[in-house]
C-alpha cells in the first residue's frame, strides 16, 4: 500500500509538472519502459533486475527512477516471501539513458528453495528535458514475471509442452507407433564455465506407467510400461538442475483397446467353385483410447483350445496357419483402417470329403478354436491383446463369436 501511494504521488507530481497531454508532446516525445526478469547468476543464486529502456542516441537529457521487488513462491503456492525491495536512483537524480539501463538488482541464494518460483516486478518514472519544458512518463510494469525455468522438450516436437505415445504391452516400437519418448532438459541459462550441474529427472505422477533410461543428465528416454487411465495426460515428469525444476511435463500413453469387426457374419459360396466350398470374409479395425480407428500396424493371431466338432468324418481337414497382418501388404491391411481375415474351406475337385452343396446351415461342425488377436507385434506372445473369439468351422459355413 505504501508503495502504491508513493507511485501515485510521483505520478501526480509529474502530471502537474508536465500536463496530462505531455507524454507525446511535439518533438520531445518520450519512449521509455521498464522491464524486469529474474535469472540465475550461478548454480545457487538468483538475481532480480529491473531495467529501464529509452531510445539510444537521444539528444535529450533523461531522468528515471525505478522500483523493484523480488519474491519467492514455494511449490505449494502463495503466500509469497519478499526477498528484496528497493529503488534506484533516487527521484532527484537524472541520468542520460542509453538503450537499457539497469536500475535495480537484488540477488538471493537458492538455498533450500530450489523447487519454488522466483518473481520480479518493477515500475518506473521517466522525465526528459526539452528546451524549457520537462516531459514525463509513468511506466508501470508492476506485474510479476516467472523466473526462467528449465524446460522439457521431446526430440522432433520442440514446440510442444506435452506428448503422447503408445503402449503395446511391452512390444517395441513398430510401424511408426512409438513406445518411447526421448526427452531433453534445457537449463535456459548459461552456467559459469567448469561448473558441475546436478541434473535429474523425476516422474511426479503415475510413476509405474513409465521407465526412464536414466534419471540423471540432460536427456532421458521414457519407455511406456503401461497405458494411461483413459484419454488423459496423467503421467507427469519434471527436469531439475541443482534442485531448480521445470514445470511438469504431461504425457499420455495411448493403446489399442479393442477390435471392431467391420465386416463379417455372412459366408458366401466359394467363388471359383461355388458348389464345393465357402468363404467367410471379415474385416477388422483396431480402436484406441480415444475411440479412433487405428491405421496400419503389424497384428497377429494365435489359436488355442482346439476342439473336435460333431462331424468326425471331416476330422482330416487341415488346420489353419496363424496369420500376421503387416502394413505395406494390401492383401493383408486392405485399407488405412482395416485388415482382412478370411475363413474358408474349399475342395474344388472333390478328392476329400465333399462339402455340401447347400450352404444353408446343417449345423455339421468340423472343429472349433479360440482365436486371440494381438496388435503391435507379429511375434507369438507379443503385442496388445485386443480380441478373443471362438471360431467354428462348419461343413458349409464359418462362424465367429462374438
Amino acid at each position: 500500500m505504501k508503495r502504491l501511494m508513493v507511485r501515485l504521488l510521483i505520478c501526480l507530481i509529474l502530471l502537474l509538472a508536465c500536463g496530462a497531454g505531455s507524454l507525446l508532446s511535439g518533438q520531445c516525445w518520450i519512449d521509455a519502459k521498464v522491464t524486469k526478469h529474474t535469472r540465475r547468476t550461478d548454480g545457487n543464486h538468483m538475481r532480480a533486475e529491473v531495467i529501464a529502456w529509452a531510445p539510444a542516441g537521444t539528444l535529450n537529457l533523461w531522468g528515471a527512477q525505478a522500483y523493484g521487488d523480488f519474491y519467492y513462491e514455494p511449490p505449494s503456492g502463495p503466500p509469497l516471501t519478499l526477498l528484496g525491495s528497493g529503488y534506484s536512483p533516487s527521484s532527484s537524480e537524472y541520468v542520460n539513458l542509453a538503450d537499457a539501463f539497469p536500475m535495480w538488482t537484488n540477488t538471493t541464494t537458492l538455498d533450500g528453495r530450489g523447487d519454488g518460483t522466483y518473481w520480479a516486478g518493477g515500475w518506473g518514472n521517466f522525465v526528459s528535458s526539452c528546451g524549457d519544458r520537462i516531459d514525463g512518463l509513468y511506466a508501470d510494469t508492476w506485474t510479476y514475471d516467472f523466473v526462467v525455468r528449465p524446460t522439457v522438450t521431446v526430440t522432433g516436437y520442440p514446440q510442444y509442452s506435452n506428448f503422447a505415445f503408445w503402449y503395446l504391452n511391452g512390444a517395441p516400437s513398430i510401424d511408426g507407433y512409438y513406445v518411447q519418448a526421448p526427452l531433453t532438459g534445457t537449463p535456459n541459462w548459461s552456467p559459469p564455465a567448469n561448473q558441475n550441474l546436478d541434473m535429474r529427472w523425476e516422474v511426479t505422477a503415475k510413476p509405474l506407467k513409465v521407465s526412464l533410461s536414466t534419471s540423471t543428465g540432460s536427456q532421458t528416454l521414457v519407455t511406456s510400461e503401461n497405458a494411461s487411465d483413459g484419454p488423459v495426460y496423467d503421467v507427469k515428469i519434471v527436469f531439475k538442475i541443482d534442485g531448480f525444476r521445470s514445470e511438469e511435463f504431461p504425457l499420455h500413453i495411448n493403446k489399442p483397446v479393442l477390435l471392431n469387426r467391420t465386416e463379417g457374419g455372412t459366408s458366401y459360396p466359394f467363388l471359383s467353385c461355388p458348389d464345393r466350398g465357402w468363404t467367410l470374409p471379415m474385416r477388422y479395425t483396431g480402436v484406441d483410447f480415444w475411440g479412433y480407428a487405428m491405421s496400419k500396424i503389424t497384428t497377429h493371431e494365435e489359436f488355442s483350445n482346439w476342439a473336435a466338432g460333431n462331424t468326425p468324418i471331416y476330422a482330416g481337414w487341415p488346420y489353419p496357419t496363424p496369420a500376421v497382418w503387416r502394413p505395406g501388404h494390401s492383401d493383408e491391411w486392405v485399407s488405412n483402417y482395416e485388415f482382412k481375415d478370411t475363413m474358408w474351406a474349399y475342395d474344388c475337385n472333390g478328392t476329400w470329403n465333399p462339402l455340401p452343396e447347400d450352404p444353408v446351415g446343417k449345423n455339421l461342425s468340423v472343429r472349433s478354436a479360440n482365436q486371440k488377436i494381438y496388435m503391435g507385434s507379429g511375434s507369438v506372445g507379443k503385442g496388445t491383446h485386443v480380441q478373443t473369439t471362438i471360431m467354428t468351422w462348419f461343413t458349409d459355413h464359418g462362424n465367429v463369436v462374438p
Binding site: 516436437y157 465386416e263 463379417g264 479412433y292 496357419t321 496369420a323 486392405v334 475363413m343 474358408w344 468340423v366
Partner: protein
C-alpha cells in the same frame, strides 16, 4: 507369403481349410497402375503348373494398352498356392484381365484375388445398362468398376443369395472415389436385395456422400436383420470432409431418435474428429445427453477445438498427430488444457466445465 505353407504339389491335397489366409490380392488402383494392358477377354485351356495358372487369352476389347480385339496371347498368373482353386478342366473364363509384359511370347497377369482362384473381374453377359455407360475417355479404373459392377447387378437380378462377387467389385474401389464409383454404389443402394443395398450404403457413407447421410435413418430402418448393414456404422470413421453440408447431416444423425444401434455415436464421433467451428453447436448439444458416451464426445470435441487439434486422420494415427501437433488457438487457456481429454473418474466435472465454456463462447462461435 507365410500364411499358407508352401508345399510341393500333390494331387490329393485340394481341400483347404484355413483362416486369415492372405488372398494375395491388389486394389483396383494397384492393378491398373501396374498393368501394361487392361483387357476384356476369355481365358481358355486354363490349367495349373505349380503355383502358376497358364492359359490362352482371347482379346475381346481393350480398356488400356495396345492389344487388339481378336488377338490371342499366352498368359500366366502366380496364384500364390499349389492347391487347385477351380474345377478341372476349367470352363472358359470371361472377364477383365490385367497384363504385364512377361517373358518372350508370354504375358504375366496380376490376379484380382489369386489365392481365391479369382484371376479377373467378372463381366456382364448383356450390354452395359444405361446407368453404367461411360465415355471412351473415362478413367480406366472407372471403366473397370462399371463393367464389373454391371456383372454384379446382372447376377443378383436372378439370384437372391448374397454373392462374394459384390464384395470383390467393392474391394476394387479401395482407396478410390469418383462420380462413376458413386454411381455404381447408388445402384447397389437402390437394389431390392437388402444385403446389396447395405453394401452400397456402406460405401457411400464411407465416402461422406451427403444425400446418403440424409436418407440413412430411413434406409437403415429396413436393414435391421441384414448382417452386411452392421458395416455401415463403422464407415463413419472415414468421414473427414468438414464441409458444412456434411456437418449438418452428421449433426442430424447424432441427435437421431431412430434407435438404430450405434448410429448416434458414430455420427458424434465423426463430428468430434473434425471439430470445426460448424460442429460446435452439435457437440455442445451432446453435453446434455443421457448417454455418457455421447457426453464424452461433446467434451472431447469442444476440447479439441479449443486446443487447436488437427483433424483426426488415419495417416496421423501412428504418431498421434491429433495430440502431438496441436496448435494453440485464442481459445487455448490453462483451464482448457487442464480439461483436455476426458477423465472418467471426474466425468461430471469435465461436462460442467465445457458446458460453462460453451455458454461463455456460444455467441461468438455459433455459425
Amino acid at each position: 507369403m507365410h500364411k499358407i505353407p508352401v508345399r510341393p504339389f500333390f494331387a490329393s491335397t485340394v481341400l483347404l481349410l484355413t483362416v486369415a489366409v492372405s488372398a494375395f490380392s491388389s486394389t483396383g488402383l494397384e492393378l491398373v497402375s501396374h498393368a501394361d494392358q487392361v483387357v476384356i477377354g476369355t481365358a481358355r485351356s486354363l490349367s495349373k503348373v505349380g503355383r502358376q495358372a497358364v492359359f490362352q487369352l482371347e482379346i475381346e476389347r481393350r480398356l488400356q494398352g495396345t492389344l487388339r480385339p481378336g488377338e490371342v496371347v499366352a498368359v500366366e498368373c502366380d496364384t500364390g498356392t499349389y492347391i487347385a482353386q477351380w474345377k478341372e478342366p476349367s470352363p472358359p473364363q470371361r472377364g477383365i484381365w490385367f497384363l504385364r509384359n512377361g517373358a518372350v511370347g508370354r504375358w504375366t497377369c496380376d490376379a484380382v484375388e489369386a489365392r481365391s482362384g479369382i484371376l479377373s473381374y467378372p463381366i456382364a453377359q448383356q450390354p452395359l445398362p444405361q446407368d453404367l455407360k461411360y465415355e471412351k475417355s473415362a478413367e480406366v479404373l472407372d471403366k473397370v468398376v462399371l463393367e464389373a459392377g454391371a456383372a454384379v447387378l446382372e447376377t443378383v437380378k436372378n439370384n437372391p443369395r448374397p454373392t462374394y462377387l459384390a464384395l470383390l467389385v467393392r474391394n476394387s474401389t479401395e482407396g478410390y472415389d469418383s462420380p462413376a464409383v458413386r454411381r455404381l454404389f447408388r445402384l447397389y443402394a437402390d437394389s431390392s436385395r437388402p444385403w446389396l443395398k447395405a453394401i452400397g450404403l456402406a460405401e457411400l457413407v464411407k465416402r461422406g456422400d451427403v444425400p446418403t447421410l440424409l436418407r440413412l435413418e430411413k434406409e437403415m430402418a429396413t436393414l435391421s436383420d441384414v448382417p452386411q448393414a452392421k458395416r455401415i456404422i463403422y464407415m463413419f470413421d472415414w468421414i473427414r470432409d468438414p464441409n458444412p453440408e456434411t456437418i449438418a447431416a452428421l449433426g442430424k444423425l447424432a441427435s437421431s431418435k431412430s434407435g438404430i444401434e450405434g448410429l448416434n455415436l458414430a455420427a458424434a464421433r465423426a463430428l468430434r474428429a473434425m471439430h470445426t467451428r460448424e460442429t460446435l453447436p452439435y457437440l455442445a448439444d451432446l453435453l446434455d445427453s443421457k448417454d455418457l458416451n455421447m457426453r464424452t464426445e461433446g467434451v472431447l470435441g469442444l476440447g479439441f477445438f479449443a486446443s487447436g487439434v488437427p483433424i483426426v486422420r488415419a495417416e496421423g494415427m501412428p504418431g498421434l498427430d491429433f495430440l502431438n501437433k496441436r496448435e494453440a488457438t485464442k481459445y487455448t487457456t490453462k483451464e482448457t488444457t487442464e480439461y483436455f481429454g476426458f477423465d472418467p473418474s471426474r466425468a461430471d466435472e469435465f461436462v460442467v466445465f465445457w458446458k460453462d465454456w460453451w455458454l461463455r463462447h456460444r455467441a461468438e462461435l455459433s455459425p
